[in-house]
């Protein structure tokens, strides 16, 4: 009830936008260019079986595998960069450089190298999400209080104890921020990969509808993608509130 009250202004604004869209699209009268929200909802219902049983699971698989690998690699890199200035000096510029590569330009190459299967899409997702996870968590480690570390050392703590008892808790809020950023990005990455070359998935489905000039059919998977990403972010936020209960207002 409290949450609903807190989100009321945003919901009212969203509703106003949807109504404006509905009126604008009705006025335009060209559903192949701009379908109305009602037409999109109708299309979602009509296509519910292939969308929910084939394409959504395919996209979520790419997202989950890509995000999972990004998390492992990103956390590992963050730990290594924090532990060794040499590793940071060597890898940091490379990680930054990886973000200057235009994803849409390199994604077709991944399709060429790895085919239409899962891994070409997973690679696109990793390329997009790896950087924010590694850098944000690394910043979290750097934010750890030196005074707290020194206090533990005065009790005889070694590097491992300082890492687990100070650095990890200090980096946790950063980790959750990174995760909330990475989820929508990984969904986008999966959709781009599917758009450029796939046999199933919401990105692929949207593109197929485009070739049929089915405006509502293009929008329906996009709406589903957004909803899936928002749901995942909401779940992570819920977990964050439980884990970081010690923070003010947590």
């Amino acid at each position: 009830m409290k949450a609903a009250k807190r989100n009321l202004p945003a919901l009212a604004f969203l509703l106003a936008l949807v109504m404006l869209w509905q009126l604008g699209a009705m006025e335009l009268g060209a559903a192949y260019i701009l379908p109305t929200p009602a037409q999109i909802a109708e299309k979602l219902w009509q296509l519910r079986v292939p969308l929910f049983t084939v394409h959504l699971p395919a996209t979520l698989s790419v997202t989950a595998v890509g995000l999972g690998i990004s998390l492992v690699l990103g956390l590992l890199l963050a730990v290594c960069m924090d532990a060794s200035p040499l590793v940071r000096k060597v890898l940091y510029p490379l990680v930054v450089a990886s973000q200057t590569i235009p994803t849409t330009a390199i994604a077709p190459l991944f399709v060429l190298w790895f085919g239409y299967g899962l891994w070409s899409k997973v690679l696109v997702t990793i390329l997009i999400t790896f950087f924010p996870i590694a850098i944000t968590v690394y910043d979290g480690f750097r934010s750890a209080s030196q005074e707290m570390a020194e206090l533990l050392q005065s009790y005889g703590a070694g590097v491992g104890a300082v890492f687990w008892k100070v650095k990890i808790p200090c980096a946790l809020p950063y980790f959750f921020s990174a995760l909330k950023m990475a989820i929508p990005m990984s969904v986008i990455g999966a959709a781009i990969g599917e758009w450029l070359g796939a046999q199933r998935g919401l990105g692929y489905f949207s593109r197929r509808m485009m070739t049929q000039l089915d405006g509502a059919g293009v929008f329906a998977p996009i709406v589903l993608l957004s909803a899936a990403a928002m749901l995942c972010v909401a779940l992570v936020s819920l977990l964050e509130r439980r884990v970081l209960r010690w923070r003010d207002g947590g």
Binding site: E147, Q153, S154, Y155, G156, P169, W246, D248
Partner: protein, 251 residues
Amino acid sequence: MLEFDHVSYQYPGEDFDIIDQLSFRAAPGSFHCILGVSGCGKSTIFRLINGQLVPKSGEIRVGGAPIGGQKRYCGYMPQKDLLFPWRTVWENVALPLEIAGCLSKAQRRDRAEQALRDVGLEGCAAKLPRELSGGMRQRAAFARTMLAGCDLLLLDEPFSALDFLTRISMQEWLLDQWQRHHKTILFITHDVEEAVFLSSSVLVAARTPIRRLEEAHVPAPFPRTRACLARPDMAALKEQLIDTLRKQVTP
């Protein structure tokens, strides 16, 4: 208990020794305040004792043995309470035991709750640090320092961030704790009245670099109340210490 034997220390990037051939000693069970203006190098002395800094030359001994070969020989309480906000009060207090790794979780909790009772914080064990007032947080930090199990306690301006009334009640409370536990306490402060009220003798860092600590014996006997500060000899000592510090800051 503690001996400084011609200890020197130079910070990297500095061209002088901030601690220069310093020698002094603190007897077992004594309460010394180290008094000096901000930035004179008082905290450096503590960081040398607790091993965070390594002397350029000289030797520091605790209990007759050089600190280099010892572990857990002093309890250190910094200016900030440094309670970990993600841990409950008892988990914070039990940190030294957790690092030592010699007790089970249940035993650690028992010891922490006992230490919390000792400092008047019964019923606060399961709270988070943000639920405590400034004075309560400092008492919890003191309980944690006590659980380090060392006879030598280094307290670095622990009450400087508290309001006046809380500060004076914490000073009285600390004296009571010292008399009950017979620890050797070194207490850094730049507050002359606090130094005079708390200590058996005041060690003044009169100039930087610190070459010697001028010792001033405090005449009032223990146990003390704040009324002792009104004694003429205590007032005279205060004036003498203020004069010494003034000379340090006057160019």
